[in-house]
Symmetry: C2
Subunit: 323 residues, 2 copies
């Protein structure tokens, strides 16, 4: 746990706090100019750079009674890293804007920064710059830069009828973990951990692009919603095979204890940052990818040919319900 | 003024608000993939990309009774653009994280976004991505990507004894404008405008790098503080010629009306986003640059050989005071 009794951010002052946040971080070779200047400079070997940004707000995207500051930092990196992986790129650099109240313990900032730094380092990426400002709540604003390594980017708009829809990573576990936290249920540490720090299948994005995938996205808003973004952008319909995404025993068990429908977690739960991609028919799916559906002519997303949400919500797919 | 009576952000919902924020913006040729996918892709022609980030918080960095939302957006672009100009790069793309309370009028977000978009477009840069989240105050977190165009980046660490210290742009006007706003003084619209939306001399950064400058920074924390960053990073001393930075008649007039010392604005006022650079002796300064001092052996920043701030603060440089 972060030291709640030590000096606060306002005790230390802005510049030392920034220095603490970036001190001792190793920079990869792609960091041509690191922190300490007006701008950093990052290598962009193939003459392009992928970029995405996400903002996490205390009380909205994380709670310190549920997640440690270190976990918040790691989550911020994961969700940004997944955004570049989704288009087929590898994260090479992060910049971080941190806002916090002046009475925030400096140890909280240190641990958020350590989580960001360690997660970035594990990806071979540098934390190359940042800003620290006073705000009413803790805010972590991360921008990621990614290297496409010569690949054509996977857009949402490239899917064609007949394509295979495939998934890498998990869906529903983060949402289940959040429900477990809300209910205060014991015995589901694996699901809670999945909510605290998602584990996107980073390598699967570049692998999909290399294998000829035509469209891609990460699953951050929920499987149906994010496949819907591909369907809309590509002007196609997507049908998901119910059997390919059946909730696993952990989701079923947690759902039973909570009186919740695990299909809702699988179909509508975001934040696992799995990756979805559409491959031309006949392509051998690369390692880590599994087929979950088909692209068709039309519009919208169906599951086994039916709308995923009826008037009763996602319950129409619950085992044992008759709707 | 933004429409305070129209629909709020929460009336409209997150996705339409984002769509409104990026709709109709022209993208420059450097935007290879624009908004609407998991990541944007930006050209990095010389195989490198400069990057910097800044976070502006309502009540800390701007007030809506002093600045319009449009001006807040333009200011956010200016201060980020100056960070890449300072190292000799040109801004090519911006990504924007926006946080706001749900009751924020949608028109406020629209105008912030319009200000960001128009200011970026004026620089030939695209707004290529963003995130919109709920927060307790309005937060504008901007990351800029810059193109060095083959130039060696101007770092803070390259100054050498004997170098000429030069300035492009204004110092002290933003701080004076803020003092005018705080006091509610009339008749200084030029200074107030300088505070609301700084006008960094963007072209001066690349011009300095082309002319062989060895170090650079923007003046965001105040002239003495930012020259101090160069002095520290370069392990040198910097002496500023008092005559080269004498407050102009507008600063003197406002200072007289407010009972304030215009030297404090010039020496310690930030946010004008002027650029400072150190050139080898004998170099012809490029257009827009003027000599303001000399790099010497030693450490720290002096003005006419004296410490800029004594126990009495900056007043030692006031005309008519004897300290």
């Amino acid at each position: 746990m972060a030291d709640q009794t030590g000096p606060t951010v306002s005790d230390i002052g802005e510049f030392p706090a920034i220095a603490r946040a970036i001190a001792g971080r190793r920079q990869p070779r792609t960091t041509l100019v690191g922190p300490g200047h007006d701008s950093a400079v990052v290598a962009a070997a193939d003459g392009r750079i992928a970029v995405s940004t996400d903002m996490l707000v205390e009380g909205r995207h994380f709670r310190f009674d549920w997640s440690s500051p270190h976990e918040v930092g790691r989550k911020a990196v994961a969700q940004n890293g997944a955004d570049v992986a989704a288009i087929g790129a590898r994260p090479v650099a992060f910049v971080v804007g941190l806002g916090c109240p002046p009475e925030t313990p400096a140890a909280v900032l240190d641990e958020i920064s350590a989580g960001i730094g360690e997660a970035a380092e594990a990806l071979g990426a540098g934390v190359v710059g940042g800003d620290l400002v006073q705000a009413r709540e803790v805010i972590v604003s991360v921008t990621v830069l990614g290297d496409l390594g010569g690949r054509a980017p996977l857009l949402r708009s490239g899917a064609r009828p007949g394509d295979v829809v495939a998934l890498a990573g998990n869906v529903g576990r983060s949402a289940a973990g959040l429900a477990v936290l809300v209910a205060g249920l014991d015995g589901y540490r694996d699901l809670v951990d999945a909510h605290r720090v998602p584990s996107p299948p980073y390598d699967a994005g570049p692998a999909a692009a290399d294998a000829g995938a035509r469209a891609g996205t990460d699953i951050s808003d929920g499987l149906v919603a994010d496949l819907g973004h591909i369907a809309t952008a590509s002007d196609v319909a997507i049908d998901v095979d119910r059997a390919a995404i059946t909730p696993d025993e952990r989701l079923v068990a947690a759902g039973a204890e909570l009186g919740a429908d695990p299909w809702e977690w699988v179909l509508a739960g975001g934040e696992d940052h799995a990756l979805a991609a559409c491959f031309p028919p006949g392509v051998m799916l690369p390692s880590g990818w599994r087929r979950i559906g088909t692209v068709r002519q039309g519009r919208g997303v169906t599951v086994d040919g039916r709308p995923p949400a009826g008037p009763g919500g996602w319950h129409s797919f619950s085992p044992g319900t008759s709707r």
